[in-house]
């Protein structure tokens, strides 16, 4: 069991962002984390990697309780992530961005060692030709790959991917899915927040569904896809849409 | 062609010969006086007056044809100066520039003890005589310099006379409060005053410093009220001193005696009106306390330079304002240099240093004599302070010199308030 999340809750002022989320993740799997916008998916990531301290519940990573640990400690233990809204270090080159990941991540490389890893990782995400460009000059898709490269350079045991497919076109999505699979092949466990349903259903071993901060389903893609609660939450209530259309036709 | 060449050589020869004779006859020499002035920053006012005084002297000397040495050399003067912005960052850089690039023959100090400390090292290092003015701290002259000479009465004797005055006015006054600005000069003065007061048997009921730039003296005044002293002494510079005096008055504290540094002798202090009445201030020089050749004769000293009245008239003519002691100090700095050059009959630093070491004379500014011991070389030991007091009412205020007894122009008002 690489990650155990039990009873995690997080509040912001009056808003209950997460309530009582629990799941266990086995090593080597890909878990999809889905739910409508605002469901608390990114908040859950933030509670796992230490950006937020949950009010209740525990997060155990590789047997160690990391609830409320500092983000950098969690990172050094082998937990890396990407951000939904990319956060490149704009004034550094792409190579330097990735070197940061390698230097300060789990393996704590020296600059020399990190440089080698950076070359390798950049080739893996196909950014090696732009290695000397400033990160700020990339487009969104490239920045997402850069985020991924930085996270990978840390050689994490567990990788949290926040909407890496968003904004990509069909062929880019295929490419990215390939990358995600390859990462898993190398032995890294993955949790991915995703909106592109086809892809996430396709690639995940487990799916966790959040809605308004509550965990409404956890299981295989098939189980989840057929769960009526999920259909209602995620796709909007089809009956409501019908109601609207009905009114329109009657108007 | 040959002819032309011949002619040319003749012309050249004549020119050279003429030039040589001219130089040999006139032997003009312009001595450069270098200093920094606080054109900007907090010392701007005092520094400007000081420079006005110096320039007045310089113009007078030059207009009167300079100083003629025994070898026929006529020495005239010019100044080079830079803005030190009232802070020490560049003082040494600028003084070095004056001493080397600008080939200053003599240096005058900047205004204030802090800046003077920094410039003294440069003067000493480049072997330039420096006359200080507006730099009263004793410590500057206790650092082993040999070329730095002070015109002002040092800080240690700045306010002690006020205590003597108090003692002469009222034997029953025993409690005093000292409230001073927290800068080098005012702290030095107050520390010396404190020691003197204890030695005289006074009880110092309050001894506190306030930050430079303080405008609200309420906490100090409240403490004074609590301590109920007979006299308050202290102060710092013009702005804080006049504010302090004004607020002491506004708060209606019953005090018998108030003596403050720097501010009271300034003519504009009288703008405080009733708040200025009775306030005593030490002055390096006062237009009232005119010193002239007759006074010198009485004291058995040589008199040099203009009389007090002549100085005042010239200064008023030049700047259309009454000279303050800063202006007089600037003037006398030049005057001392002039006298030293005459005595030394040379522009040589060593000769002039000796002339200054041996100097013992009276000027309109007062008695000038320098300490020549290694411990405090250059410290002013001849000059002493005068103490003025504002007297009168409302818009009709006048200064009177109330101490020392030999200079007194009016009886001291005592007690100034209450009773």
């Amino acid at each position: 069991m690489i990650l155990q999340v039990s009873g995690v809750s997080k509040r912001f002022g009056g808003l209950q962002a997460l309530s009582d989320v629990s799941f266990n993740l086995e090593e080597g799997r890909i878990m999809g984390l889905i739910g409508p916008n605002g469901a608390g998916k990114t908040t859950l990531f933030n509670c796992i990697n230490g950006v937020y301290k949950p009010e209740e519940g525990r997060v155990v990573f590789r047997g160690q309780d990391i609830t409320g640990s500092k983000t950098y400690h969690v990172a050094k233990m082998g937990l890396a992530r990407t951000h939904q809204i990319v956060r490149p270090l704009n004034d550094l080159t792409i190579r330097e961005n990735v070197i940061v990941g390698a230097c300060f991540g789990r393996e704590n490389h020296s600059l020399g060692g990190a440089e080698k890893i950076a070359e390798e990782v950049l080739e893996f995400v196909r950014l090696h030709e732009r290695a000397n460009q400033l990160a700020g000059s990339l487009n969104v898709g490239q920045k997402k790959r850069l985020e991924m490269a930085r996270a990978l350079a840390a050689r994490p045991y567990l990788l949290l991917l926040d909407e890496v497919l968003a904004g990509l076109n069909a062929s880019e999505i295929t490419q990215m899915i390939g990358i995600v699979r390859d990462i898993r092949e190398r032995g890294t466990t993955i949790i991915m927040i995703e909106h592109v349903m086809q892809a996430v259903m396709n690639v995940s071993d487990d799916i966790l569904v959040l809605d308004f901060g509550k965990q409404i389903a956890f299981g295989t893609p098939e189980q989840v896809a057929n769960d009526p609660k999920v259909i209602e939450a995620y796709l909007g209530d089809p009956t409501l849409a019908a109601e609207l259309s009905g009114k329109k036709s009657s108007a | 062609m040959k002819r032309a060449l011949y002619l040319l050589s003749v012309v050249l020869l004549v020119t050279v010969l003429l030039g040589v004779t001219l130089v040999a006859n006139a032997q003009e020499r312009t001595a450069v006086i270098g200093f920094t002035a606080s054109t900007t920053g907090k010392y701007n006012v005092e520094s400007t007056r000081q420079i006005n005084g110096l320039n007045l002297w310089l113009n007078q000397v030059n207009e009167s044809g300079g100083i003629t040495l025994s070898d026929g050399t006529v020495v005239t003067f010019e100044t080079v100066f830079y803005d030190d912005e009232s802070n020490t960052d560049r003082v040494q850089e600028l003084y070095t520039r004056l001493a080397t690039d600008d080939n200053a023959d003599f240096l005058i100090s900047p205004y204030s003890s802090g800046l003077t400390d920094a410039s003294s090292i440069i003067a000493e290092q480049y072997g330039k005589v420096m006359i200080t003015t507006g730099a009263a701290s004793d410590s500057t002259y206790q650092k082993g310099y040999s070329l730095v000479f002070q015109t002002y009465t040092p800080a240690s004797r700045y306010l002690t006379g006020a205590l003597d005055l108090l003692a002469s006015l009222d034997e029953s006054a025993t409690k005093i409060a000292i409230v001073h600005e927290n800068d080098k000069f005012s702290s030095d003065v107050s520390t010396a005053l404190n020691e003197y007061a204890l030695a005289l048997g006074y009880e110092v009921v309050l001894f506190e410093g306030y930050d430079s730039g303080t405008t609200d003296f309420a906490p100090f005044i409240n403490k004074i009220q609590d301590a109920a002293p007979d006299a308050v002494l202290g102060g710092g510079h013009f702005q804080d001193g006049s504010t302090f005096a004004r607020q002491l008055y506004e708060k209606g504290i019953d005090l018998k005696f108030v003596a403050l540094l720097v501010a009271p002798p300034e003519p504009s202090f009288s703008e405080l009106g009733d708040a200025a009445v009775g306030v005593v201030g030490p002055s390096q020089w006062e237009p009232l306390g005119l010193i002239d050749a007759m006074a010198a004769e009485a004291a058995g000293l040589e008199f040099f330079g203009p009389s007090g009245q002549e100085f005042i008239d010239a200064y008023m003519a030049a700047y259309d304002e009454e000279p303050s002691y800063h202006a007089a100090g600037g003037y006398v700095a030049g005057l001392l240099l002039q006298k030293a050059i005459i005595d030394a009959d040379s522009l040589d630093t060593q000769a002039i240093k000796e002339a200054l070491d041996n100097m013992d004379l009276l000027t309109f500014f007062g008695h000038m004599q320098f300490d020549t011991t290694p411990e405090a070389h250059g410290l002013q030991i001849g000059h002493s302070m005068m103490y003025i007091q504002w007297q009168g009412e409302g818009d009709m205020l006048e200064k009177a010199i109330v101490w020392p007894p030999e200079a007194v122009t009016g009886d001291a008002l005592y007690p100034i308030r209450g009773e």
């Binding site: 270090l89 940061v100 | 560049r90």
Partner: protein, 324 residues
């Protein structure tokens, strides 16, 4: 930090230029040039060290001068009271400032943006007020040195030259240090913090200790040159030692040259100090030099906000490799 990094031509260019400018007064044996260059070199040291915090880490300090004053006080205290030599006092001053930075940094570096800037102002003012009350350091009168103290360094004239050599060496050393820091793993972490502190934490940069050490590193050299400057000056008082205005001027210099670069702050220090020197001594401007300087500063901030070196790097990306 690998050796190949040291082959960067921009670094060497900067070092060589500073070295040549520093050596000119020595060759000409001209004291006024030495003093002018010394003012510039002091600024180079203060500015390059500030750049470690401001340029690399992205924290705006309005109180950098605290370390200069602190070093100066500790140094002069040790020299005047305990008779330490200038050199050991200089090291002690540097260490004292480093220690101060460590203590302060642990507390205030959690503040961001203008709140950090304000805290540094507060510390500067608190420090100045404290030293004014601190009797061992002479309270408001400060500490003065006896002229005799220069005798053990060959007299005042020689001492000033010796101090100059040391300052030149420190300036070169500081440029090298700031380069080494920038190209090290530690420096990379700092730059990551500057670009995005949270992202840096997520990648494992231990931000509190990195920032604190950056602060300490940026404080040591100001502490050392503080000792040298005030030793040369002969006295130290609370006002001049903790002058807020000087801190702001340092920011201006970093800004003029381009922050975060090696050459920028050096260029900024040269440009600013030379300009001020010229204005101060020019007949035309000496009465309005402050205004002229203000107008020039404003124009530069409004139109070349990334500073000279930053502008070149931005305009000609090729130069990025050569202008570290």
């Amino acid at each position: 930090m690998s050796l190949k990094n040291l082959k960067n031509p921009g670094l060497w260019l900067t070092l060589v230029v500073v070295f040549i400018l520093g050596v000119i007064p020595i060759i000409n044996n001209k004291a006024s040039a030495r003093e002018e260059t010394l003012t510039v070199l002091l600024s180079v040291i203060l500015v390059s060290s500030l750049n470690i915090l401001l340029g690399y880490t992205g924290y705006i300090s309005f109180g950098h001068i605290v370390f200069y004053g602190m070093g100066g006080y500790v140094g002069l205290f040790l020299i005047s009271v305990y008779g330490w030599s200038l050199w050991t006092a200089m090291v002690a001053g540097g260490l004292a400032s480093g220690l101060l930075a460590f203590l302060l940094g642990s507390a205030i570096l959690r503040l961001r943006g203008s709140y950090f800037a304000l805290a540094t102002i507060g510390i500067n003012e608190a420090m100045r007020a404290f030293i004014s009350n601190f009797e061992p350091f002479g309270g408001p009168t400060g500490i003065s040195l006896n002229f005799q103290v220069y005798n053990q360094y060959g007299g005042a004239a020689q001492a000033l030259w010796t101090i100059y050599y040391v300052v030149l060496a420190l300036a070169l050393g500081n440029i090298l240090l700031s380069y080494v820091v920038k190209t090290s793993k530690f420096g990379l972490g700092l730059q990551a913090i500057r670009e995005d502190e949270e992202a840096a934490e997520v990648m494992g940069v231990v931000t509190p200790s990195s920032k604190t050490w950056a602060y300490v590193l940026s404080a040591i050299l100001p502490g050392m040159v503080g000792v040298l400057f005030f030793f040369k000056n002969g006295n130290i008082e609370p006002g001049p030692a903790f002058r807020l205005h000087l801190s702001i001027e340092l920011l201006v210099m970093v800004m003029l040259g381009g922050y975060g670069t090696i050459a920028g702050p050096v260029l900024g220090a040269f440009g600013y100090q030379r300009l001020r020197g010229l204005l101060l001594t020019s007949d035309l401007f000496k009465n309005i030099q402050l205004t002229v300087a203000g107008v020039l500063l404003l124009v530069i901030i409004l139109f070349i906000p990334s500073g000279a070196v930053g502008w070149i790097r931005h305009r000609f990306p090729v130069t990025r490799r050569y202008l570290p």
